[in-house]
């Protein structure tokens, strides 16, 4: 074991997960990557070792398999200093409107799973008396919109969970960060029409998360412009808002 700080990234094979792992490894953290397909994480583990000369470990983690969560946490060789949940599923809104199974998967992937696993880590961190928890939520959770309210409502629930957890855990020395990335060019958004000036690349999100952890920020809008955009969207009167199609 080294005396370096450790970070565990849940959803390590996503573009934001990979970028976040690189940002922390570059800053000298040893890294744990967790995802559904451990073999698929091997090339990223090799990449982090080669680039930054840090220790990297892999673990299997499935956000829908909530029954496995307690076993997952207790089987980790050591409790990390920082745990980051990047898991999520955009899904297809139009399908989710009539397909209950799809809607359920979106809700569980974005709210139930991430909240439960971070909640478990929070208890362990509180028992230890320190630690940082990061949840990657979404600006979509700030107000339910016609075009993606199934995803948005799950992210809203996750944001609310993180907000409450932060208020409770802060007193016990555990910090909670909520990250709202806005548009990011990733696998998830490939093929979507993104608005250029509001869109960032995954490494920008990784750096923002590292920065928020080190500075103990509470809520991060990766691009400051989104804070303004969402403020406007949140303040629109419902009578006006419901006429908008976006």
């Amino acid at each position: 074991m080294t005396s370096r700080k450790t970070v565990l990234v849940l959803g390590g094979s996503s573009d934001i997960g990979r970028a976040t792992a690189r940002a922390f490894a570059k800053a000298g953290y040893d890294v744990g990557l967790a995802g559904r397909d451990v073999a698929a994480l091997e090339p990223d583990a090799a990449d982090l070792r080669a680039r930054y000369n840090v220790e990297v470990s892999l673990a299997k983690f499935d956000v829908l398999d909530t029954a496995s969560f307690e076993g997952f946490v207790s089987s980790l060789p050591a409790l990390p200093d920082v745990v980051i949940s990047i898991v999520g599923l955009l899904g297809v809104q139009v399908n989710a409107e009539s397909d209950l199974a799809h809607a359920t998967t979106i809700m569980r992937s974005n709210y139930e799973g991430p909240s439960l696993i971070l909640g478990l880590f929070a208890e362990k961190f509180l028992a230890r008396g320190n630690g940082t928890i990061v949840g990657v939520s979404s600006v979509a959770g700030d107000r339910g919109r016609a075009s993606n309210y199934v995803y948005g409502s799950a992210k809203a629930g996750f944001s609310a969970f993180l907000s409450g957890l932060r208020a409770r855990a802060g007193r016990g020395g555990v910090h909670v960060v909520t990250v709202k990335p806005g548009f990011v060019r990733t696998k998830m958004t490939e093929g979507m029409k993104l608005i250029g000036p509001l869109t960032v690349d995954a490494p920008v999100v990784g750096d923002a998360i590292l920065n928020a952890v080190e500075k103990k920020t509470d809520v991060v809008y990766v691009s400051g412009k989104w804070r303004l955009v969402m403020l406007i969207i949140k303040t629109l009167p419902e009578a006006v808002f419901k006429k908008l199609k976006f």
């Binding site: 990223d44 090799a46 930054y52 000369n53 490939e190």
Partner: protein, 441 residues
């Protein structure tokens, strides 16, 4: 289909652009008429598939690194900027960097890019030991100087036409610091500039910036930048060994109106630049590697400065003897036109390594022109001067040379074609550039 162009934003053409994430997907994606694209910094049509363009920047992993030897294995989509930011602070830099760091490893191999050290240290391909290539007929082979050597030498400088470069093994240069000891020399005309470059042969890095608005007695007046890697003992007290690379402080947010660059503004800019540089001439200064190697990278999207219609970069190399006369003639014609660019660069090259590599021993001149008026005819005439003197044009910059000029400039073409055919008998790998210059019609 998507409209796509190179860095010069000319031509803009249709191609089906896919960004891939797994090597298995590459196998599925290659259809007849495909070529790989890295970060899109080739100026013309080299990285645009005839039918399909295979985006490689998702392949950005380092496979292994040995700090004892500097040997690194990486995926082809890793950018040089990433390599410098990651390994610079650990004391290693690429041996060869072109004028922008925002190029992929695969692109740098395919264009066998050169840097300010080509005259003494060779091009990018010289430091590549081995390439993992998916050939046009679908085989995945490891090509090196010893194994599949024909494929290796055709792939270095082969403009992506031998197949999809997936990974490469290369060597990095141990570098104590990220600083360069720079010396600026002012040269009052072309003869003085060429003499200064000749005198700079012993320098690791040398390049001349030419004021291409200067005419008559001042024709070819230049600033010559020589450089050496600075050791730790040369740094100012308290300076960090590896400076931070500012990623894009400035940006050109919109296409500037075409008239922003006109005869008067270009003359004024060039004149001012020359006088400011001449004032610094003489002693040595230690500068960060970023402004030294990549002066334009600090302005994001600088290609928009030439307006919506795009621009052409014309880069030729002319062997000795006769280089002086042809360079003088080209510069004179350019100065008379008055729309030549901010950036005219002159430097010496050595021998290229790949069969289709651009460099040959001589002088290379790079000029930018906005796409307007009779520029295409003007450049056709320049091309004839170049090949008549035994020179040729750089494919990574080219968007418009004719097949006849290309064939005259690259005498090893038939050997390249034979190797390409053996790797891809059905002709699956085709770019807009290969359709224009190489493919059987």
């Amino acid at each position: 289909m998507t409209l796509v162009s190179g860095w010069g934003r000319f031509p803009v053409v249709d191609s089906d652009v896919l960004r891939l994430r797994s090597f298995e997907a590459v196998g599925v994606a290659v259809v007849t008429g495909s070529v790989a694209r890295g970060n899109g910094r080739a100026y013309g049509d080299a990285a645009i598939g005839a039918v399909r363009t295979i985006g490689m920047t998702g392949f950005d992993r380092v496979r292994s690194f040995d700090p004892a030897t500097g040997r690194i294995r990486l995926e082809a989509g890793v950018l040089l900027s990433d390599l410098i930011d990651t390994f610079g602070p650990r004391g290693f830099l690429p041996f060869v960097v072109p004028g922008t760091r925002f190029v992929s490893i695969g692109g740098a191999i395919a264009a066998d890019v050169h840097g300010k050290n080509h005259h003494c240290e060779g091009g990018f391909g010289r430091y590549v030991d081995s390439i993992l290539l998916r050939t046009g007929q679908g085989e995945t082979i490891e090509a090196s100087r010893e194994q599949n050597s024909d494929a290796f030498f055709a792939t270095v400088g082969g403009m992506g036409l031998t197949g999809i470069i997936l990974e490469a093994t290369m060597r990095l240069r141990p570098a104590e610091t990220g600083w360069i000891r720079e010396r600026v020399i002012s040269a009052s005309d072309l003869d003085a500039a060429m003499r200064a470059l000749d005198a700079g042969d012993a320098a690791t890095y040398s390049v001349a910036w030419i004021d291409c608005a200067a005419r008559g007695r001042d024709l070819g007046r230049s600033l010559i930048y020589l450089g050496e890697h600075a050791g730790k003992d040369e740094l100012a007290e308290g300076a960090v060994a590896f400076p931070a690379g500012k990623n894009r402080g400035l940006a050109v947010p919109i296409d500037l109106p075409a008239m922003t660059l006109n005869r008067t503004s270009i003359r004024a800019f060039n004149g001012l630049y020359y006088r400011m540089g001449a004032r610094r001439a003489g002693g040595d200064h230690v500068v960060s590697l970023y402004p030294y190697f990549f002066p334009l990278d600090s302005i994001a999207d600088w290609n928009r400065i030439y307006g919506r219609r795009g621009f052409l970069q014309h880069q030729c190399v002319i062997p000795e003897p006769g280089a002086r006369a042809v360079l003088g003639e080209i510069l004179d014609r350019v100065a008379r036109r008055g729309d030549a660019s901010f950036l005219a660069v002159l430097k010496k090259l050595g021998q290229g390594d790949g069969i289709l590599s651009f460099p040959l021993p001589g002088y290379t001149l790079a000029l930018d022109f906005p796409v307007k008026g009779d520029i295409l005819n003007f450049l056709d005439e320049i091309d004839r001067l170049v090949v008549a003197a035994g020179g040729r044009l750089y494919l990574a910059k080219d968007a418009r040379q004719s097949r006849a000029i290309f064939e005259a400039g690259y005498p090893a073409l038939s050997r390249f074609n034979a190797i390409r055919k053996s790797l891809d008998p059905a002709g699956n790998i085709r770019s807009k550039l290969s359709q224009r210059l190489l493919d059987e019609v």
